[in-house]
């Protein structure tokens, strides 16, 4: 399975990982090898087989509708790289084009 550098760049953008060109070149070969390996699944006829997303027979599990305390704001913000008041602080959100 042959991937182009452009393919790798596109996936990295979707995954929001700012790979270096060197990393992309390494991954181009490795992803190709992995995708070639997993393509062996095409040997199996699965036309009539339903997919399994998870193995439990549980569906639509509802929590009991009882109020309980939330975590304190300070505890939730304690790990923030940067905070301002009761907010997470980041660099500018606007202006980026995908």
């Amino acid at each position: 399975m042959e991937l182009t550098l452009e393919d790798v760049r596109h996936i990295a953008t979707l995954a929001r990982i700012g790979l270096t060109t060197e990393e992309m070149e390494t991954l181009r070969g490795q992803l190709g090898d992995i995708l070639a390996h997993v393509s062996q699944l095409n040997e199996l006829d699965t036309e009539a087989i339903p997919p399994t997303a998870q193995v439990l027979s549980l569906h639509d599990v509802h929590a009991t509708d009882e109020p309980r305390p939330s975590y304190p704001v300070d505890a939730m913000l304690a790990n923030a790289p940067e905070r301002e008041g009761n907010y997470f602080r980041t660099k500018a959100v606007l202006g980026y084009e995908t």
Partner: protein
């Protein structure tokens, strides 16, 4: 008993329990002995990424007060340690990753909360492959853990720290997590017992997610009895995890016995194929012969899709990874890169600098498999093959009660020997992944030695039937001496 002379290494929970209940030893003394042991050997093993000395001594003091008040319980006052992806409030939890640098969880994982309530003592947090992705613990951003049996070899992974700590006598028991074999394979390579319970048996609340449809927490212990004791503490439905199943937890130990008359053991031809080291295969075949000598009936079973399980896993797990690990964005917790001028550049540089090579590789594979135009060909296809794998196990369990196989195709391999070839590393899990895909329980027990290194036999059971699995593994263990062997490092270093 003097704590200097206490033979900690290899001491079972049951043996420690007797000493604690007879007041021959306090939990504080026991905890100090384990801390001394960690100080003496861990610069060579590097199982621990954090040692929680103060927490341990405080919890041990509390356990001593509870014992003095007449309380009893299997793990009350017993020192243990946790894989570093299990959340511990206020105690660093890194997942072996730079991206969780400095992260202190605001809450406890349910398994830790249950162990605390039962009076177990936390010695510290254990090294692992980054976000549990790996089979050698070499993918940790923090340290490379060595196998106590041969310091030049890997302990397996991803719960390598959890397995090595038990093998080296640094904790009475540990917890790991198993997504495709990450409890069983390191247990096999380190000569200890490792149990992956049924998906849904143990709450995953506070387990930092890798692949949510596969992840399950399990104990690593010296004996099957210990695994049963720990499982009885951590198992059961939890309102905080909607995938924890409302299934009763039986009294495992009460069902233990000496012989296996009436038990049908399935032997699948697909697990005895080229690629397994001859010393591993002969040890496992001898283990299966021992099951027969104990009265079990051997039955040939067929699991034809076994050879496809690895490929199925390496689509489904990375797909779930690409989703789960999107939360690491440098905003809410952990590492943030200051490179770039806007938020998206923060994401790009934080994730490139914060994740290691294997994690990035899997996020990329998963993103590709889920991307527009490829979903049906990869992810949907893999989910259909998963149905086949599960159906084949269901059919096999019509004819047998447990299935026996090797845990790993090899004994511990040299550090560095597989890092250049991802697929060679992935093949380490070829025998453990099928049970993960089917969500069924499996255990690895020591069954022999090859080139002086431990070999593990895997027993696989029906969903939620850990009882039969543990009963079979316990009877096997009682009839052999393999679980009593200890690495030379343990024998020479003393308590």
């Amino acid at each position: 008993m003097r704590r200097e002379s206490l033979a900690l290494a290899g001491a079972t929970i049951g043996e420690l329990r007797r000493l604690l209940d007879a007041r021959e030893l306090s939990s504080v003394e026991l905890t100090e002995a384990y801390l001394a042991r960690i100080a003496a050997v861990d610069d060579r093993i590097r199982s621990f990424v954090t040692v929680t000395r103060d927490v341990a001594l405080e919890q041990a003091g509390e356990a001593d007060r509870r014992i003095a008040a007449g309380e009893a319980g299997p793990v009350l006052g017993v020192p243990m340690a946790l894989k570093d992806l299990l959340s511990t409030a206020g105690i660093a939890t890194t997942c072996g990753s730079r991206i969780l640098q400095g992260y202190h969880p605001p809450y406890d994982a349910t398994v830790y909360a249950r162990l605390r309530a039962a009076g177990a003592v936390l010695l510290g947090k254990l090294n692992m492959d980054e976000f549990a992705m790996g089979s050698s613990t070499e993918n940790s951003a923090l340290a490379i853990t060595a196998n106590p049996w041969d310091l030049a070899t890997v302990p397996g992974g991803s719960s390598g720290g959890s397995a090595a700590a038990v093998a080296a006598g640094e904790a009475a028991f540990t917890l790991g997590s198993d997504t495709g074999g990450s409890v069983r394979q390191p247990a096999s390579l380190c000569g200890v017992v490792g149990l992956k319970p049924t998906y849904g048996r143990v709450s995953r609340f506070g387990l930092i997610a890798f692949a949510s449809s596969l992840d399950q927490i399990g104990p690593l212990t010296h004996t099957v009895m210990d695994a049963a004791l720990v499982l009885s503490v951590i198992a059961g439905q939890d309102p905080l995890d909607a995938t924890s199943a409302p299934v009763e937890v039986p009294a495992y130990v009460a069902q233990f016995g000496e012989d296996l008359r009436g038990l049908r053991v399935g032997v699948p031809a697909e697990y005895f194929v080229e690629g397994t080291e001859p010393g591993v295969e002969s040890a496992v075949r001898e283990g299966i012969a021992q099951l027969e000598r104990l009265g079990a009936e051997l039955v040939e079973v067929s699991l034809p899709s076994t050879g496809y399980a690895l490929s199925t896993y390496y689509i489904i797990a990375p797909a779930e990874v690409s989703s789960n690990l999107s939360r690491y964005d440098g905003v809410k917790y952990g590492y943030r890169s200051d490179d770039g001028d806007d938020l998206v550049e923060t994401y790009l540089s934080t994730r490139d600098q914060g994740f290691g090579a294997e994690v990035k590789r899997r996020i990329m594979v998963g993103t590709y498999a889920l991307s527009s135009g490829y979903y049906d060909a990869y992810y949907l296809k893999a989910q259909k093959v998963r149905t086949l794998i599960k159906a084949e196990f269901d059919a096999a369990f019509e004819r047998c009660d447990v299935i026996a196989s090797p845990t790993s195709p090899s004994v511990a391999f040299k550090i560095g020997s597989r890092t250049a070839d991802p697929i060679a590393m992935y093949l380490s899990d070829v025998f453990t992944i099928p049970a993960s895909m089917a969500g069924i329980p499996a255990i690895s027990v020591p069954c022999g030695s090859s080139d002086g290194l431990p070999v593990g036999m895997q027993l696989i059971g029906r969903a939620f039937d850990e009882a039969t699995l543990l009963r079979a593994a316990h009877a096997y263990e009682r009839s052999t001496e393999w679980h009593k062997r200890q690495p030379a490092l343990v024998a020479s270093a003393g308590g």
